[in-house]
Symmetry: C2
């Protein structure tokens, strides 16, 4: 397994040309706010002042977690496979939103503790029937971790467009994500742990204690070795997502980053290839406690703040039309000159 090289999108000349194109549109300077930032970013990703977003795809990775044996989730582990069935039956939130926006939706079995009947829409990349309980041992071997990353990289080839969204499903995976966040950001565990699918305050406290004990158990795993962090505390869906993110950025696609778990995968990918941030649109700030701090750690400004905490890539689909709007104003609006509109006295 070789980590793909992700190059920076920095290009002073193009950045200036994009700013000029944006500022010449018939609107007060800066008045489209974050849409202007997105338009410039997407122009830099695609290396053009006339970017086109094409054939967006969503990859939703599912995996099970041995740590659920410690009672860290409000839902039983079976919900992972049941929700995969729900995805395949078109009944989940991500189905509704992806359908609304004509985004291709691929469900990936990265490591669910269940044997699915093969069928269209389900990609079998199962590395194992869930991870080990990381309270006592590494969640996965380094070899399985690399296998998951490799699968993720190769999955990008199935997505023909230049925009890729990343979602996940995995009972227990906010516990993995919180542990990864704690190690990679250095923030106290209490700031990394939240309610997940709906823990009580007592449940959250227990979850933090489990992570604390696991971190002590794996004290030799340091943030300077992101692959070890991933193998020790991660999940197959998180590893596969990180691999897909790296490959998509290496191919100069726009990456739609969902919530707490997807951002934990991105944290890992970022440690491996820092320039990946240039390609990321952070689709929302989740209500999962910790996501806001994760975004702040990355210096990221989220597109939506709707109080979502669902995962599945839902925020990617919900934010997608705003990316279209960003590119739309850049490519379609008239300029002060062509529309013969007077400029500001200050211009």
């Amino acid at each position: 397994m070789k980590i793909p090289y992700v190059c920076s999108t920095a290009d002073d000349g193009l950045a200036q040309a994009l700013e000029q194109a944006i500022n010449n549109k018939t609107k007060p300077l800066g008045s489209l706010g974050l849409l202007e930032t997105l338009a410039k970013q997407i122009g830099l990703v695609f290396q053009t002042v006339q970017p086109k977003l094409e054939s967006p795809s969503m990859l939703v990775f599912a995996g099970d977690h041995g740590i659920t044996a410690e009672g860290v989730s409000a839902y039983p582990q079976d919900v992972t496979w049941q929700m995969v069935e729900n995805f395949l039956g078109q009944g989940a939130a991500i189905n509704v939103f992806a359908r609304q926006h004509q985004m291709a939706l691929h469900i990936v079995d990265a490591g669910v503790n269940y044997d699915f009947v093969p069928r269209a829409g389900l990609l079998d990349r199962k590395v194992a029937y869930g991870t080990q309980n990381f309270l006592y041992q590494a969640a996965m071997s380094l070899q399985d971790c690399k296998q998951a990353l490799q699968h993720g990289m190769e999955l990008v080839d199935l997505c023909p467009g230049n925009v890729l969204g990343f979602g996940e499903m995995g009972i227990g995976n906010t516990t993995s994500a919180a542990a990864i966040m704690h190690i990679l950001t250095g923030l106290p565990i209490e700031q990394c742990v939240g309610a997940g699918t709906g823990l009580s305050a007592q449940g959250i406290s227990h979850k933090a204690q489990v992570i604390q004990a696991a971190v002590v158990h794996h004290a030799h795993v340091k943030d300077t070795d992101p692959l070890a962090v991933l193998a020790t505390f991660g999940g197959f869906e998180i590893a596969m997502m990180a691999g897909a993110m790296l490959q998509a950025a290496a191919q100069r696609k726009v990456l739609l980053i969902d919530g707490f778990i997807a951002t934990s995968a991105l944290l890992l990918a970022w440690r491996l290839q820092p320039a990946i941030l240039d390609y990321c649109v952070f689709c929302h700030c989740s209500d999962e406690s910790g996501h806001q701090l994760m975004l702040a750690h990355l210096g990221a400004r989220p597109v939506l703040q709707l109080g979502l905490r669902l995962g599945e890539g839902t925020a990617c689909a919900l934010a997608w039309p705003l990316l279209q709007s960003a590119v739309g104003f850049l490519c379609e609006m008239s300029t002060f000159e062509t529309a013969q509109v007077s400029q500001s006295a200050a211009s």
Copy 2:
């Protein structure tokens, strides 16, 4: 002119049925955040647990303002008619976003200081060639104010769907909106005044002084008489928008409220018919200083926070797909029972 009666959407039985429908969907309780609030609100507006959003329209009202003679805007007054021409030429931001979402777009000349060549897409409801300078006299007569409201009410009949968005264009109209906000909310003028299309700090200070002087001049106009406030400090586009908002709510349509100026029109409509709030979706929090306080005064939670300050109804078009998502999850997602997904232990 008769103000339409707007009845409350309150219905305990239906509200409970909607909450139950939302909570039975295959997702953690409350995990779709603001979308759940919107789904419930829209269900109450349409009086059904299976709401359908149909044929959204945008009404964009344009008008000129005598107060521009006091140097309160970064742009010359001519920009109002030039931007109307730009709307009709399909080159403005609202054209791009309305086109993206297949929203019907109607441009209304409510009182622009210009003679337009009649053409498709332009509705001539001109009450006058701009308002008077409200530093010295009322912006409009009470008769003209009522005429503008009446035009607004009648315009709703041109919009066949059950969703109506409201935008505006009018150089100088943040000055009107700030004055209306000051009188109706009681907040200090400094908290109501912002940069508009791009004033310097000095320009903002001057604008506040102009409003202060106008408020002193019209000291007899009290917040208890919203029509007098509107006639004294308003604009034709603001008055017409308020009339259209009232009529749309009376017809149980969903109202998409844009930014600072549209919300000032809503403040007036709300004083006339308080139940109108039940029908309003506040599409964003504008970067125009004061809008956040206006929303707080109304107890409103905005959908988007993108740092926009453009007007034209742009935020209505940008927020629209999120309303579709809200209704989409309510009508299309499977339930825990139909999808055979296990519920939370806490459920």
